[in-house]
Structures are given as structure tokens and as C-alpha cells.
């Protein structure tokens, strides 16, 4: 996926929105900036398929040699897919954060949280501010 065309949460998750069979499905991952800031990853706690999530709520955890961080759901809906391959291959998050490194797919139930997401330019600016 082209990072320029994705939406981003303040908490560094990226979102790719697509229509699948008449419903809106969001693919969610974490940005290259976030992976870089987390440093060496050691563990990823993924949710169950079928779980409902609310925008802004934690749906999993990611642990690096530095710290444990929450993964926040950018939107509200139901988890319809989880990238099981990441469990054994966390390095994919760093090598290919916007494709092979996707984390979950959410069937979006309403538009809550959508207005909080930013485009690539706004997200880049946020990263620059955080870096300063």
C-alpha cells in the first residue's frame, strides 16, 4: 500500500479503507515511524477474530525491548481478520509495515472516529513535532 494514500491515527496506527461486499473494511497497521520508535520488537498480542472494538479503545499490545505499548483501534466495528503470520515473524512490521505488516481488518459499523484520522501530510507533521 502507498503510505501517501493512507489515513493515520494520532496514536500511529494507519488505516486503509475499502469496500468489500457492500460493507466498509478497514485494514489497520502501525506506521514506519512507530515501528522505528518502538525499536526491537519482541511480542505482539493480537485480538480474536469476531471481537468488537470501539474507536480509541486498545485492541492489543506490542512489546519491544524498551516498553509495552497499546495498539488502539482507529475505528468502531468488528475484527474480521488478524494477521496470524506476524506472531512468528514480527520483523515484517519493520520490513514492510504497510503491506505484509498489516495487523487487523475491521468491518466498520459506524463512522465514529473517522473524523479524528488525518491524511499523510498531517501525519508527517505530527511525527516531526514528536521528533522535536
Amino acid at each position: 500500500m502507498n503510505p501517501q494514500e493512507l489515513l493515520y491515527a494520532k496514536t500511529h496506527e494507519w488505516v486503509y479503507l475499502a469496500e468489500e461486499g457492500g460493507t466498509q473494511v478497514a485494514t489497520v497497521g502501525i506506521s514506519a515511524f512507530a515501528v522505528e520508535a518502538l525499536t526491537d520488537l519482541v511480542y505482539l498480542d493480537l485480538p480474536e477474530v469476531g471481537r468488537t472494538v470501539t474507536a480509541g479503545e486498545s485492541f492489543g499490545e506490542i512489546e519491544s525491548v524498551k516498553a509495552v505499548s497499546d495498539l488502539y483501534s482507529p475505528l468502531t466495528g468488528e475484527i474480521v481478520a488478524v494477521n496470524e503470520e506476524l506472531r512468528e515473524a514480527l520483523e515484517k512490521l519493520g520490513e514492510d509495515p504497510y503491506d505484509a505488516g498489516w495487523i487487523v481488518k475491521i468491518k466498520v459499523s459506524d463512522q465514529t472516529g473517522l473524523d479524528q484520522l488525518m491524511d499523510h501530510a498531517a501525519y508527517e507533521k505530527l511525527c516531526e513535532e514528536e521528533q522535536a
Binding site: 526491537d40 520488537l41 519482541v42 511480542y43 512489546e63 525491548v65 516498553a67 509495552v68
Partner: protein
């Protein structure tokens, strides 16, 4: 000088038939083991235990012990841990036969000396906290947090309230939200302001009637005393909540202010930090808690009470505590470290303890001033007992990280400071010199850091260069840990 042969694994040093002891012939009748234990439970071969002589064993462990850093051998500015010198006098006193030879099942009447000492410690900890009652049972700081939250839960239960949330600032020790979670509460994070204090607006927004406890560390993990702590306590109390003080940083305020005076309802101490008990290998820590009179009925059972006065005084374990949360630790807690804390407090007295805090703060501020030109301190220019510097500029300009800098310090004979904590500071290096270091040590440390920040990045990425192990592969250790030694997996030749 280094003996790498005797520090191989005991399994590698093993030779069949070697023994460190020779037992006399058995003079009691022997029964065949198969008559005593069902055959299906018996092992079919001998246990593969290493076989060595006593000198081999002693050399193995004595040599391993020299590969470590400790407060006895090195400056140890590990932020948040208060690695002050542990006076040898306290070790001697804690090892007196009247203390170490007691049995915890002896009747109270025959334990009066130890009970008097522990009662005295309860009283002193209560006075230093400015709170009414103390339990010495918790076995560590985090255990103290959990115990105090259980006390709070019992209190709210009796009030007929079901509160579900615990608030912690984003700069809190990770143990705070972990304790909240262990105790069945939801941990909610409160943001800090850019100045490093609790964000009062964010607190007000998150504060509701579901909040049981606000857990605050003051001075906080940035080494700053929160000037709004009284206001925070008032806000929380107005909504019926309680204030918990994480006492990890008591070294900065001993005898200067008391948590009870700034609105704390309950707190723990880390005697192994504040009162110079040894950390780690020197014995376990302890996490005594102090609470207000309102919470006293819920403290763990038993507490130590004094009956009578003067020559008639006697000390007892009081189990008659119907509203207590019960026991959280066997016997009297980790007595050894409590005895050391008692000796430390008695040695210093009230004025001495205040001087401890003043000198800890003075040392930290002196070192902050020396280091700031090398590594900026975002929440400077002043601090309490510790400060958090950042290697962010160094990383941006030369690709050198906080980890690189502190690993290199090991080569120069300094224990590395805490890094990457608190999370609110990027590339954090958290330095706590404590009051027991001389100006010369602080100057030498600052001078070493000045040299290090100018070294080539390649040297720093590879550091430490002089330690027996350089950089362990932390990712592999976490994801693919090798938990047991197996002969087949070992190379046939061991280096060294």
C-alpha cells in the same frame, strides 16, 4: 587476570565421580527405595547433575561474582533505584544471633526483642510518612502497592461502593497500572504537562465517581516535586477517591515534607532504596505500607502491637482484626531488610534523615549542572533526587542512542543509568547519584561522559568492549529463549 576456565558452566566442568563432600557410612537401617515409592514414579536413570570438587565450585562462583558491578565496587547511578551505599554496620547488626537465630514459630514472649524492634520501625515509618498506621508485611514495593489497593478495595466495599478505576500519571512506574490490574481495577492514564507535572485539566476530565485511587509518585520519575500535589489530592478527595503515594522517591523528601501532609491516604516505602537495604543479591527487598486511621482496620493481619508501658511493656502479634484483608506474607515480612532499615533510621535520627534528602538533592543538582551541556535535561534546570537527560540530539546528529552512551559507560567502570524510562522523554537517560557519592566521583563521571559523547559512533555502537559479555541479543532472548543446557547443543571446544 580473568579466569575464563573456571567460569564455564558447571555442566561443562563436570567429571564423573568428582565430589565436594564425602558422607560417612549410613548408620540407620535402609529400605529399598522400590518398597517406599511406587515403581512407576521412580526415575529410570541417574539425574544428570554436575560433579565437581569444592575448590572448583568455590572458584566458579568466586570468579563469576567478580564479573558483576555492585555499589561496593562501582558508582551505580541507576535512576529510580536509589542505589546508595549499604553501610556494613547494618549488615553486622542484622546478622546478630538474637535476630537470625530466631524461629518464626517461637511464642511471642520469647521474641520480645525482635517484636520491639519491628514495632519501633512501624512507629518511625508512620512518623516519617505523616500517616497513622503501618504494616510491615509486604515483601517488595510492588507488593506494597497491591496490598494498599486491596486495603482500598476493602474500604470501598464497606462503604457499599463499587469503584472500578485507578488513575496513574503517564510517567508512573509500570508497577502502578500492573498493581491496579492485578487487583481487578481498570488502570487509566492521566497525561503530564510539558513541564512534567500531572495535567490538572486531563485529571479533571478523567476523574469521576468510579475512580477509587489516584496513584502518584512524588517527586515523580522525572525527579520533579509536583507543586500541585495538594490540589490534586483535594480534587480526588472531593470525588470520594483516595490518594496513593508510590514511595520509590522518598529519598528526596525524608524529613523535609511528609506524604500525609500533602494529602496522601496510603503509601509504600522501599526500604532497600530509601533506607539502604541491599538490592538483589544482598537479600530481598520489602514494601511496608502506611495508611490513614480511616484505612487502618483493613491492614493485613497480624500487626505488631504494644501492651502496657515502661517495664511492663510487651509486644504481641495482633490477629484480632475482623475487617483486615488478611495475610499477604508469611511471618513478619522480609525481616532482614526491615532490621537494616531500623538500624539506618536510628543511626541517622530525624536531622540526619533530613540531611540525607538534602545531600541526595544537592548531588543530583550538581551532576545535572555538569551534564546538561553534554546531554540536555528537558525538565531542568533543577531537580530533586534524580533527573532525566536525553540523547535525542546525539541520535539525530550522529546516530548515537541513549543505549550506546550508557553501554560505553560500563567500559569506564560505571554502572549504566536507567534508559528509556520514563517514556515521556525520548532517548531518556535517568541519573540518580544518591547522597553517598563524593564530589570527586560525580566530577569523574561527568568527565567520562564528556569523553564518550565525542567518541566515534562506531565505537559507541559496539560498546561495551571490555565486559565479559558485550550486548546480549535481547530480541532472541525474549522470543527464542534457551532455558536449559543440553549437551548435544554445546560446541565440543569451549573458548578460553
Amino acid at each position: 587476570m580473568r579466569n575464563t576456565r573456571d567460569t564455564q558452566l558447571l555442566f561443562e566442568l563436570s567429571k564423573a565421580g568428582r565430589r565436594a563432600v564425602e558422607l560417612p557410612a549410613c548408620d540407620v537401617p535402609q529400605e529399598p527405595i522400590a518398597d517406599l515409592i511406587p515403581a512407576r514414579l521412580l526415575a529410570t536413570c541417574d539425574l544428570p547433575l554436575p560433579e565437581l570438587t569444592e575448590p572448583q565450585l568455590v572458584r566458579h562462583y568466586a570468579n563469576l561474582s567478580t564479573l558483576n558491578m555492585s555499589v561496593d565496587t562501582h558508582f551505580y547511578p541507576l535512576g529510580s533505584c536509589t542505589m546508595k551505599y549499604n553501610p556494613k554496620r547494618n549488615e553486622r547488626l542484622a546478622a546478630l544471633p538474637g535476630i537470625v537465630d530466631l524461629h518464626p514459630y517461637q511464642p511471642d514472649e520469647s521474641l520480645q526483642g525482635l517484636l520491639a524492634l519491628l514495632y519501633g520501625l512501624q512507629e518511625m515509618l508512620s512518623e516519617i510518612a505523616g500517616l497513622d498506621a503501618v504494616s510491615l508485611q509486604p515483601a517488595a514495593g510492588a507488593h506494597g502497592e497491591l496490598t494498599a489497593l486491596m486495603v482500598a478495595a476493602a474500604y470501598f466495599r464497606e462503604q457499599g461502593e463499587r469503584r472500578t478505576k485507578i488513575l496513574t500519571p503517564d510517567s508512573a512506574h509500570g508497577t502502578n497500572p500492573a498493581s491496579a490490574s492485578m487487583c481487578g481495577f481498570d488502570a487509566v492514564t492521566v497525561n503530564s504537562t510539558s513541564a512534567g507535572f500531572v495535567d490538572l485539566e486531563d485529571l479533571k476530565q478523567k476523574l469521576d465517581d468510579q475512580v477509587a485511587v489516584f496513584m502518584i509518585t512524588n517527586p515523580n520519575t522525572l525527579g520533579l516535586f509536583d507543586p500541585y500535589v495538594r490540589q490534586i489530592a483535594d480534587l480526588v478527595h472531593e470525588r470520594g477517591g483516595l490518594i496513593y503515594l508510590d514511595g520509590a522517591n522518598m529519598n528526596a523528601i525524608l524529613g523535609v515534607t511528609r506524604p500525609g501532609d500533602f494529602g496522601t491516604d496510603m503509601m509504600h516505602y522501599n526500604p532497600h532504596k530509601t533506607f539502604s537495604g541491599p538490592h538483589g543479591g544482598g537479600g530481598p527487598g520489602a514494601g511496608p505500607i502506611a495508611v490513614t486511621a480511616q484505612l487502618e482496620p483493613y491492614l493485613p493481619s497480624p500487626t505488631i502491637v504494644k501492651k502496657g508501658n515502661g517495664a511492663d511493656a510487651c509486644y504481641q502479634l495482633d490477629y484480632d482484626r475482623p475487617r483486615s484483608i488478611g495475610r499477604v506474607r508469611s511471618f513478619f515480612g522480609n525481616t532482614g531488610v526491615l532490621v537494616r532499615a531500623y538500624c539506618y533510621i536510628m543511626t541517622h535520627g530525624p536531622d540526619g534523615l533530613r540531611r540525607v534528602a538534602e545531600n541526595a538533592v544537592l548531588n543530583a543538582n550538581y551532576l545535572l549542572s555538569r551534564l546538561q551541556p553534554l546531554l540536555p535535561v528537558p525538565h531542568g534546570p533543577r531537580c530533586a533526587h534524580e533527573f532525566v537527560a536525553t540523547a535525542l540530539t546525539l541520535k539525530q546528529q550522529r546516530g548515537v542512542t541513549a543505549m550506546d552512551v550508557v553501554k560505553r559507560l560500563l567500559d569506564f567502570g560505571y554502572h549504566a543509568p536507567t534508559v528509556y524510562f520514563p517514556l515521556t522523554v525520548k532517548e531518556a537517560i535517568m541519573v540518580e547519584p544518591t547522597e553517598t557519592e563524593s564530589k570527586e566521583t560525580l566530577d569523574a563521571f561527568a568527565e567520562t561522559l564528556r569523553q564518550i559523547v565525542d567518541e566515534p559512533p562506531e565505537t559507541l555502537h559496539a560498546a561495551p568492549l571490555m565486559t565479559p559479555v558485550s550486548r546480549p541479543d535481547e530480541v532472541a532472548a525474549a522470543r527464542k529463549p534457551v532455558l536449559r543446557w543440553r549437551e548435544a547443543e554445546q560446541p565440543s571446544q569451549v573458548e578460553g
